[in-house]
Every structure is written in structure tokens, then in C-alpha cells.
Amino acid sequence: MATPKNKSKPEIMITGAAGALAQQAIKRLREQYKIIAVDFREQVYLSDDIASYRIDVNKRGFEDIFRKHDIKAVVHLGRMIASEENRMRRYNSNVIGTHRLLDLCHKYHIGKVVILSTYHVYGANAYNPALIDESAPLKAAELTMDLIDSVELENLANIYLWRYPDLNITVLRPCNIVGPGVKNTISTLLSSQYTPVLAGFSPMMQFIHIDDMADAIALTVVKTKGGIYNVATDDWVAYQEALAASACRKIPIVSVPPVLPKMISSVLRLRSFPSYLINYFKYPVILDGTLFNTTFGFNPQYSLNEIFRYYRSMKT
């Protein structure tokens, strides 16, 4: 769909536009920006004034969007999450696709790029300290090849961050994003009636409501401050307590030896409890979000109780 260039508002491309988080971000940004929505899954209709494209970043035609529009900023939310597709397709989309997107951003002199990463990059390890800050090593690749794409995506963003400072790349590493419309692993688990847990393990977790996360993205777009930031709330809860608060019934899975739960997950093909994420239900990955909060003046609004009330209400 071609749209004439609109000079009144700066144009902003948002990838992954069919996702719930992108749509919340669009709601917050459309007053100030002219939105260009992109998704490889479907062409999303948001309103007449929003140009929408269904296209894969890796396709040749993708560059035409940059040619047609005078894009000033790119918000790259179009990541395949770990439970989607196979490892190779995820790698192609998340790493090769992002590489291409960043190259195009450089070619078309984009002045602001926001990339959505994940706290998974830190890896869930028994020896993780709490309140991990942004300089901590990314150990996810130690755990499983299935998270390589997340770490590689960050490495790529880092290279562009120092090589092309004019892109003003901001990488966001959020904790568990949850709330209405979110279809990631943790949100699926909280929505379920019966939820697997590892017997004897209930790691501390952080949750951020989708609306708060959308606010965080909007803040990042408006305030141009490149860098890497954790996005997390200053509130913590044990996984099993989060499930109880969301009215989930726990199904304990034998946790030792460690190979057993991974085997059970693989054999039963538990999509919502994938074997490569098992360690995240065993050991904590608690982020320190102070840098983002102070840099961007971010203050999440939703409490844990409000978040879990939503999941409880789904079951009544």
C-alpha cells in the first residue's frame, strides 16, 4: 500500500505491528508521529491514516517502504519469540532480518532506532546475582542453541551502536511482558488453568504490564538517548506465587536430575514450557531497571496484583 509522504508529522516505522505490544505502542505514538506499520504475518488495519505493509524484512521489496516514506525513526518489535517457528527460521528473521533492517536504517539516515530484546539474553543460571545490570555478560547462549538468535541480535545491535552512532540505537531488555493480548510463553502460562512447575524450584521473577512496556517504548522514541537498557519493575515475586495469584493450578514436574524435566518437556512437546526455557523456571534472572528509569523518567503504573487480577479474571 503506497502512501504519499506526509510532511506534517515525522514518519516512524514499527515492525511486528500485528502484535499486541506494537499496537499499544502505536496508540501512544500516533499523535506525534505518522505510523508506518509493518508485519510479516498479516497486514494490520489500524486506521485510514496508518500505512500498513505485510512484508518480511528479508524480502527485496522491504526497501521500497524506505523509498516511499521519509522515515525518521524505526521501532523494531518484530521479533519471533522463542516459542515460534524453528531455530533456523528464528535466526533468519531475528538476526539476518535485523541486520538488513539496520543496514537500511543506515542507508536512509534514520536518526532513531529502538530494538526490543529480552531478559532471556542474560541466561538463567544458578549463580546469577540479583539486580543484574546492563553490563552483565550475556550467558543465554551457554544454556541452549535455541536462544542464540536473541544473543546474536544484541551483538548485532551493539556493533551498529558503536559503528553508526547517528542511528541512536536503543536496545530494550524487558523483564516478562504480560497482560491483555500478550502471547509469549509466560503470558500463556499465566493464562492456563494447569501450569507446569519444577518441583522444588520457584525462582524470583519480574513482570511488566504491556501498557507500561508500551509507555517505555514511547518514551524511548521521544527521548533520543541511545544505549542498552533493562526495563523492569521494582517489584518481585516467586514464580509459583505468581501462578497461585493468577489462579493457575500447578503441575509439578520432577526437577532432578536436570535432564529429566527437559526430556519431559521435549517428549510431551510442551509448547508453553519449552525445554530450552526450563532454566528460567528454575533460576532467577532479576533485572536492575534503574538506568532506564532515571534516564527516561520511567515509572511503571501497574502493580503485580493488578497484573495477576487480569489472569485470574480470565478463569472465572
Partner: protein
Amino acid sequence: MKVRSLLKRTLVPKALDEQLNAIEKPVGTLGYDPWGFNVDTNKIAVALFKPIFEKYFRVEVNGIENVPAEGPVLLIGNHSGQLPIDGTLIAYALATRKQNPRLPRAMIERFFPTVPYLGNILNQMGGVLGDPVNCSKMLARNEAVIVFPEGIRGSGKLYRDRYQLKRFGNGFMHLSMQHNAPVVPVGVVGCEETIPAIANIAPLAKMLGIPYVPVALPLILPAKVILNFGEPMSFPSEECQEEEVTRRVDKVKEQISILIDKGLQQREGLF
């Protein structure tokens, strides 16, 4: 969680509940902090530990007023007794002191988080994975932190080596200097006799992936425990060479040694 509420209602007397509520603790809306400390589990643990502290080990506490009422502080003690009983006793003593009680955090061995149930329970009671980043972040949040710089060298030592201080790591001194946190030395007497071990089956320990497997009686003996808290020690925060850091660590070690000798003299019998 229902079990915890039930246990709390059954086991925690109202007076103790109010006493512990009065201690300021940086926890989130559901009673947890980032390291997994849980307000209610801690209360249950304190309530359960009361008879163990008062009747079983008949703990005698001296100089606990030396622990500052607020601000970051490191409680540095001698480690002994195979199990982390010493840390729990120090924590209980400080949580229940009459003036300005505090809920200190104890750094625990790195293998505990891998043990089902126990790892989480220790975290909820206030134990924290013994990692310098954790300790640093807690001091930055004005916590009182219990550290045993001997680590497993201390807790796993045999009965014949009792009250001989093993090598102290320098990590705690760096953290003390970095955060301007005073060091309160603690001499623990009695825990060496709780689980006297005559040997360590090292190959079995290696096979099981645990620090040591002591050859000892399968019970915890009711030895009388004496905790002597020394005067707070402050160290300049300017950077210095590692040799100087080691000298400062030795000063703390020397104080702990004096406090142990004092405790041994105070003790009238093993039990």
C-alpha cells in the same frame, strides 16, 4: 502460599509479628525482595528458631549493640559446624535484639540454589547466594550482611581443627571500602561442637557435586553457643594495593580470634 499463611497464623505470635513488622525492609508489594527474601517466611523461621536459639543452643549474646542501628554493615564471623547454623544464630540474635533490631542477610554457599526446595527456603528466610555483586547491591541498599570469609574452608573443617581460623578471602574488605560499610567482627563459639566431624569423604562429595561429606554423628548436638560481637571497624575507602587490603583483612581476623578466645574463656562446658 496458603500453607505459608496457615503456618504464619499458627506459629507466629502476635507480639513477634508486630516486632518484626517494625523492622524496615525494602520489599515489594507481595512481600518479596529481589533476592527472594519473603517477609512471612522470615517470620515463620524466626518463630520456629526461638526455642532452638533459647533452649537448644542456649545462645549467649554479648556486644550486639555494636551493630549500627542503620546503614550498610558487614558482620564478619568465623565459620564452623558443617551446616549454616552460625549464620542463622547471628541473624536471629540481631532480628530479636531489643534496641533497633535488624534483619541481616547471610551469604550462602553457591551450591544451595541448585538444591530443590532448600535453595528457595533459604532465600525466603534471608539467605543470599554468596556473590560479590549481591553483597555490593545489598550494601548499597543499606542492608546488614553476614559474611564468613573462610567459606567452606571454615564450615567443612574437622573437629581436630576447631577454632583454628582458615584463610580469609579479601572480597568483604573490598566491599566494605567501596560502600563505606563498617565491619563488625563476630566470634562464634560452640558451633564447632554441634556437628563434630572426624573426616571428609572428598570423593563422594565430588561425585555428588557438594562441598564436603563429613563423617559425623547424624544429629546436631546441643552445644552451648556464645556469640561475641566486637566494636565496629571502619577502613578508608581510597583504593590501595592488595597487600594493604590483606593487612586490613588480617586485622579483622585478629579481632575475631580475640573474640573467639574470649568466648572460649566464658564457656563453662561444651553443653
